[in-house]
């Protein structure tokens, strides 16, 4: 099977443009709380979400916007929710970390790892009420160390539930490099629960689509759960205003704020050895360096990749681009008339 590339491109672009609009509103101070964008991981969501049908369910984490956009939830309702409006998707009670769309069986959670049990519960309900439907959990590499998520994978495997566990591995959990706190390999870990587990190029929407197609087919036919992991980028940092990204983007002003207390602390009489202090500073520098690299040197972008694949079909692409741009502009105008 081959995906419809235009459809994939359209969904990725809608998501990207929508989140860019959200970023603007956030900068204007109209959106409160920790705003997590999914820019950089757009290849993973549409690879899975565009294959879902009515009755299928989604369990999302704190980066839940794109799947909702791709599942056709009203952009205006989403925006109004982000703005805290009583007319928002959740009447302003949930906000961007707690998005709920019951008619799409889609639930979000700001508790890292909760997507696991939630997807398992949806899948269990499917087994009883909606044969052939699937439930997808989206979560990060950091979440993979959360006990309830591991328990959920075991439960799905033991009960042969139609669940698909999708790990969007951006290699970060806030400011922690996941590799530094994760023993072993996440694909092997998932496989050890007795389910097919594969690594896919998380920047390649087509590859994700194909891998997901296998997992979804398996789930629909009652053969049980699967695990998919794809590496992706975190272009906007952990959340908007991420201090590491700020340092990377505005090194001079930010470092003048961070450095003095740090230098003072390092220079204190008592503490650990000089070598260990140097190691600490190296580690911090390394994290900033990695962020700088991701900001300026890694030029990879899942959207650009797919656009390059579509290279020749310039007219169709431009038409999609124009339509998406108009759609998002209109949504913002509807949510915030006259802004």
């Amino acid at each position: 099977m081959e995906p419809d590339l235009f459809m994939l491109y359209r969904q990725m672009l809608r998501s990207r443009l929508f989140e860019e609009a959200v970023m603007e509103l956030w900068n204007e101070g109209r959106i409160s709380g920790e705003m997590h964008l999914a820019i950089g991981e757009e290849a993973i969501c549409p690879g899975v979400c565009t294959q879902l049908r009515d009755g299928d369910a989604l369990a999302l984490d704190h980066r839940g916007t794109p799947p909702l956009v791709m599942r056709g939830v009203s952009l205006v309702l989403l925006l109004k929710e982000f703005l805290g409006s009583p007319d928002g998707l959740c009447r302003g009670w949930g906000g961007h970390m707690h998005l709920f769309a019951p008619e799409r069986l889609t639930a979000s959670s700001g508790i890292v790892g909760a997507a696991g049990p939630t997807a398992v519960g949806f899948a269990l309900a499917h087994q009883h009420l909606r044969a052939g439907a699937v439930a997808v959990a989206f979560f990060g590499d950091g979440a993979a160390n959360q006990g309830m998520l591991m328990e959920a994978m075991n439960l799905a495997s033991a009960w042969k539930l139609p669940a698909i566990f999708v790990c969007k591995d951006n290699q970060w959990a806030i400011t922690t490099r996941s590799a530094s706190v994760t023993g072993g390999d996440l694909v092997a870990r998932a496989a050890s629960f007795g389910m097919p587990a594969v690594e896919v190029d998380g920047m390649d929407a087509v590859a994700v689509w194909k891998t997901a197609a296998t997992a979804i087919a398996r789930a629909r036919t009652g053969e049980g759960p699967s695990f998919i992991k794809g590496c992706c980028l975190r272009s906007e940092g952990h959340f908007l205003g991420d201090p590491l990204v700020r340092v990377a983007r505005h090194p001079i002003s930010e470092i003048t704020e961070i450095a003095p207390p740090l230098i003072k602390a390092v220079g204190k009489f008592s503490g650990t050895t000089l070598a260990a202090r140097a190691e600490s500073l190296m580690k911090i520098t390394e994290l900033i360096g990695t962020t700088v690299k991701e900001q300026y040197l890694v030029k990879d972008d899942p959207l650009k990749r797919l656009r390059d694949t579509l290279g020749a079909q310039k007219k169709e692409c431009e038409q999609i681009e124009e339509q998406c741009r108009r759609e998002i502009l209109q949504a913002v105008e509807d949510a915030l008339p006259g802004r």
Binding site: A57, A59, G88, L89, C90, R91, G92, W93, G94, H98, F100, P102, L105, A107, S109, G110, I111, A114, G116, P117, T118, A119, V120, G121, F122, L124, A125, H126, Q127, H128, L129, G147, M148, E151, A152, N154, L155, A158, W159
Partner: protein, 340 residues
């Protein structure tokens, strides 16, 4: 009217509900044996034994409820809910608010609680006040077979998450499991009226959040629930001999709390004692005090609760849990104080 054990009543009511509504699914550790009769009748898909993964299966039960099932998730003992309480605190209890009222999680969490058989501090807690602190969570605690069955139906009918606590001292199979089975050499102080009693031929739910008066009295109000209701009733008999007429209220439900019923009684007696097997501080006994004060009532107040970790040794345990003796003692003190 039939006669049934406390546990038998729960099973019977649940079976009646399961026969009517195929969306009811029981899940939890060992339920194929703990609920063997339901397992035999409704099969392994509707009585599902789980791994020891409370966080996963309780979280899954909440989501399954969101997606159309009516799960009865069993946490073997309420003490173990500590590994899974995120599913209640941050998910089930908040869903209705988070979704702007668009979505609810009608899950029943069935769990055994309470002490009096020497298992010690990690297996004999009640925690109902702890759970009731969470807005959006209902918490019910039956004390008789009739209420045990009826409240199970009420819980199943409720449109949000409910924790249903079943006291082990009332449920014969638990006591058998936990040390009385296989030897004739131990016995426990099981309240007769709680362990066995009349139940209706057909189960019907009871009104949500309504207390009942177990004994009328005008001198002193005792508000209680679970096994403590029986301890309080026995204490009331002792007190009657001393000429003290205690009114015994069985709350049945911690959240919602029937403050009306307590308030009506205290308006009459001007003296309130809360008998609560859960921990004393920052829980049910304090909440009742606050709500009565908010209503402007003046009254004398005392409480008999579990004050600390429940000890293992049976004699220490008897001192730690609310007992007939402790209640009588506290009532005398309360009666010795002038009405305000």
């Amino acid at each position: 009217m039939r006669e049934m054990s406390f546990a038998g009543a729960i099973e019977d009511a649940l079976a009646q509900a399961m026969a009517k509504d195929s969306r009811i699914v029981v899940m939890g550790e060992d339920v194929h044996m703990l609920r063997v009769n339901l397992f035999a009748r409704f099969g392994k898909d509707r009585v599902r034994s789980t791994p020891i993964s409370e966080a996963a299966f309780l979280g899954a039960a909440v989501a399954a409820a969101m997606a159309g099932l009516k799960p009865v998730a069993e946490i073997m003992m309420v003490d173990f809910i500590a590994v899974a309480v995120d599913a209640l605190l941050n998910h089930a209890a908040k869903l209705e608010r988070f979704s702007g009222g668009n979505w609810k999680a009608p899950v029943v969490v069935r769990t055994a609680c309470g002490g009096g058989y020497g298992d010690g501090g990690q297996h004999e807690q009640c925690l109902w006040g702890w759970l009731a602190h969470i807005p959006g969570l209902a918490v019910v605690v039956p004390s008789t077979p009739a209420d045990a069955g009826a409240l199970m139906l009420s819980a199943l009918e409720h449109d949000g998450p409910v924790v249903y606590l079943e006291h082990k001292l009332l449920a014969d199979y638990w006591l058998d499991y936990l040390g009385a089975g296989g030897r004739k050499s131990v016995s426990f102080d099981v309240p007769a009226a709680g362990a066995k009693g009349p139940v209706p031929d057909q189960w019907e739910s009871v009104p949500w959040g309504k207390a009942v008066i177990r004994k009328d009295g005008s001198d002193l109000t005792i508000a209680s629930l679970g096994v403590s209701v029986h301890r309080a009733s026995e204490a009331a008999e002792d007190l009657a001999k001393e000429g003290i007429a205690a009114e015994v209220i069985d709350l049945r439900s911690v959240a919602p709390l029937d403050i009306e019923a307590i308030s009506d009684s205290v308006a009459k007696t001007a003296r309130l004692m809360v008998v609560d097997e859960d921990y004393k501080e920052f829980g049910l006994s304090g909440e009742i005090a606050a709500q009565l004060l908010e209503r402007g009532l003046s009254f004398r107040y005392g409480r008999v609760c579990t004050e600390d970790t429940v000890p293992y040794a049976r004699h220490l345990e008897d001192e730690a849990l609310p007992s007939r003796g402790r209640i009588v003692q506290a009532a005398r003190t309360l009666m010795s104080q002038r009405k305000p």
